[in-house]
């Protein structure tokens, strides 16, 4: 096992750069999620690590070995494709043994033992002699996963593996992936466009935009402390406002509208002027008693969207529209006049 190091990695298709100067270090046995909208270059980045694409510039290192010029068949990686890419004419057992056969790993008896281990790992006992088309989507996925790890790869690469599954199966597979990764202590790189998936699975989230890295951090950092409006928006901050940030008499403030100047925490770069203020919809509170909050703005509830456990409230305050997520206890109806509150620490100046 080994970490992955990318240095100044560039991949151009024609003039367009799919991956544009990416430098990144994924430590040994960590679970990294590469997150971004479609077309941000995340899949190309994964394919560069796998060796399925040749970089225009830069280096790829696995452990201490420079593999930039090494073809994929010699990189000793495991990769799980979005389409699973099982060989349709081979049974489950034959599919699982395929990497061992190709790499001439051990005797036939050892290979069979390893196949049995892999079948056990993904709980597919009894399915060994089936063909892929006789399996459900979730089972096919588990075969593909077992096949990707059977030859003890140095790194496991996952290309949107859960996107073809339905919601419940997806949740089950997430748990399975985490457990597998911890059990095998495999350095894992996971590509996804789903921020919930990235946040719940990864030790480390790499947010990409237009071929570049927008922000790297732990799920907590990247969710709680987005550094750019793009990061805030992509990670689900529904409330983003243009504000005028000022610094007077040791206090930092943001002007949301006339009669609506709110205190904020000092921004990381200490700059004043036109900035953006990000507020998560679950950090906003609708209350008739604003005591205990740093900010309270008079507000009117415009729309309530029932979503089961929670409801989403569209609220007008300071001439802006806010989106608020709250449970039943909020006890609010459309047209109600009340206070929109939050704590200074929850407002992020970008």
């Amino acid at each position: 096992m080994a970490g992955v190091t990318l240095e100044g990695l560039v991949k151009r298709f024609g003039v367009a750069a799919a991956v544009d100067d990416v430098t990144l270090e994924i430590p040994d046995s960590k679970f990294a999620a590469i997150l971004g909208p479609s077309g941000c270059g995340k899949t190309t980045l994964l394919r560069l690590i796998a060796g399925l694409e040749r970089p225009t510039a830069g280096t790829v290192r696995i452990g201490h070995e420079d593999v930039t010029r090494l073809p994929p068949e010699r990189r000793q990686l495991g990769m799980l494709f979005q389409s699973y890419a099982l060989l349709p004419h081979m049974t489950v057992a034959e599919n699982l043994r395929f990497p061992l056969r190709m790499q001439k790993a051990g005797s036939l008896a050892e290979q069979r033992e390893r196949v049995a281990w892999a079948v056990d790992l993904v709980r597919l006992g009894g399915m060994e002699e089936r063909l892929p088309r006789q399996l459900s989507g979730g089972q096919q996925q588990r075969v593909a996963l077992a096949r990707a790890v059977i030859s003890r790869p140095r790194v496991l690469l996952l290309d949107e593996p859960l996107s073809n599954l339905d919601a419940q199966l997806r949740k089950d597979m997430q748990v399975e992936l985490i457990e597998l990764q911890r059990q095998l202590k495999l350095t894992t790189v996971f590509v996804t466009h789903d921020q919930d998936e990235a946040l719940s699975l990864a030790d480390m989230v790499v947010l990409m935009r237009e071929g570049r890295i927008e922000q790297i951090g732990s799920p907590r950092e990247i969710y709680g402390r987005p550094r750019t409006p793009f990061a805030a928006e992509f990670l689900g901050a529904a409330n983003l406002f243009d504000v005028e940030v000022g610094h007077v008499g040791g206090r930092w403030t943001a002007v949301l509208g006339p009669e609506a100047t709110v205190p904020v925490e000092p921004p990381a770069d200490g700059q004043v002027g036109q900035r953006r203020l990000a507020l998560r919809q679950e950090d906003l509170i609708l209350s008739r008693d604003p005591a205990g909050f740093d900010v309270a703005l008079p507000a009117r509830v415009a729309t309530v969207v029932y979503q089961g456990a929670l409801s989403r409230y569209v609220v007008e305050a300071a001439g802006r529209r806010f989106s608020v997520l709250a449970g039943k206890e909020a006890n609010v109806d459309e047209g109600d006049e009340l206070q929109l509150c939050w704590r200074t620490g929850d407002a992020i100046v970008l």
Binding site: E73, L87, R147
Partner: protein, 269 residues
């Protein structure tokens, strides 16, 4: 399931189906029927029942040697068109290269050009630059008209196959040859079977190209039947044709056995 379909349409559909079956099966029934006739002449309905014409065909050197030539020819053509057509289809449908579109159309052109013109062209070519008509010329001529089918059927299954399977095999350590042997060729198999079926039948059936390209001593079964029909039309022709039908049906089973295919004539997916 058909509740929403008006009665007239249902009736019309049934009528069409019956007509199709009549047009497809009645000629076969006529041939098979007149082959068991006891009469000296080729007539339908048959007069009396007798297998004498089968005896005549199966003890005739002319028919037997022509049949043997046809089988050999069809087998050689089938193997050759698989050997040439499969790699061609892989190249055309797997890799996009400059001119691949044009090359694809060129491969399919024998489908649209009249076979007669083709035969004449081939004859002139072989007479000018080769040793004239021969078994080899016949193989080449048939290869040209069977190739489009192999390219088409193999291409169709490749088109529907998971392209990532090859890349996945790469990440699992398979080198170029292993990827072709374990991934690409098995993907082609159904298309190869369908292509082989077409190639065998077209070659076995062909009378037009063979008319131009056969050497004087070589006779194929369709040509034999044709010349018998011209000079001495008796029920042996029908018997020979029935044997031909049986050979074709037998061939379907053989190909099915070798290449293991369920949807022989389908587009592959």
């Amino acid at each position: 399931m058909v509740g929403g379909i008006p009665l007239v349409a249902r009736f019309g559909g049934a009528l069409l189906l019956v007509l199709v079956l009549v047009f497809m099966l009645v000629p076969l029934a006529v041939v098979v029927g007149s082959s068991v006739s006891a009469s000296e002449f080729l007539v339908f309905p048959p007069r009396g029942v007798s297998l004498r014409w089968y005896e005549a065909v199966l003890s005739s050197d002319k028919y037997l040697s022509a049949g043997w030539t046809s089988i050999q020819l069809a087998l050689v053509v089938t193997v050759a068109s698989l050997a040439v057509g499969t790699p061609a289809a892989i190249a055309l449908y797997r890799f996009r290269f400059p001119g691949s579109e044009a090359l694809g159309s060129l491969f399919l052109s024998p489908l649209v050009l009249p076979t007669l013109i083709f035969g004449i062209g081939m004859l002139m070519l072989f007479s000018r630059y080769g040793s004239g008509p021969s078994f080899f010329a016949l193989v080449l001529g048939h290869l040209v008209i069977t190739l489009p089918y192999v390219v088409r059927t193999v291409g169709a299954v490749l088109h529907g196959a998971d392209r990532h399977a090859e890349e996945a095999a790469r990440t699992m350590g398979a080198n170029l040859w292993q990827r072709y042997w374990f991934v690409v060729l098995p993907q082609c198999r159904e298309g190869m079977a369908a292509g082989a079926f077409f190639a065998f039948n077209i070659s076995f059936d062909d009378a037009v190209v063979a008319l131009f390209l056969r050497a004087p001593g070589i006779d194929t079964l369709p040509l034999r039947i044709y010349s018998e029909l011209e000079f001495s039309p008796d029920p042996s022709i029908a018997a020979a044709s029935t044997v031909m039908i049986f050979i074709t049906v037998a061939m379907i089973f053989v190909i099915e056995r070798i290449l293991g295919v369920r949807r022989l004539a389908g587009s592959g997916r």
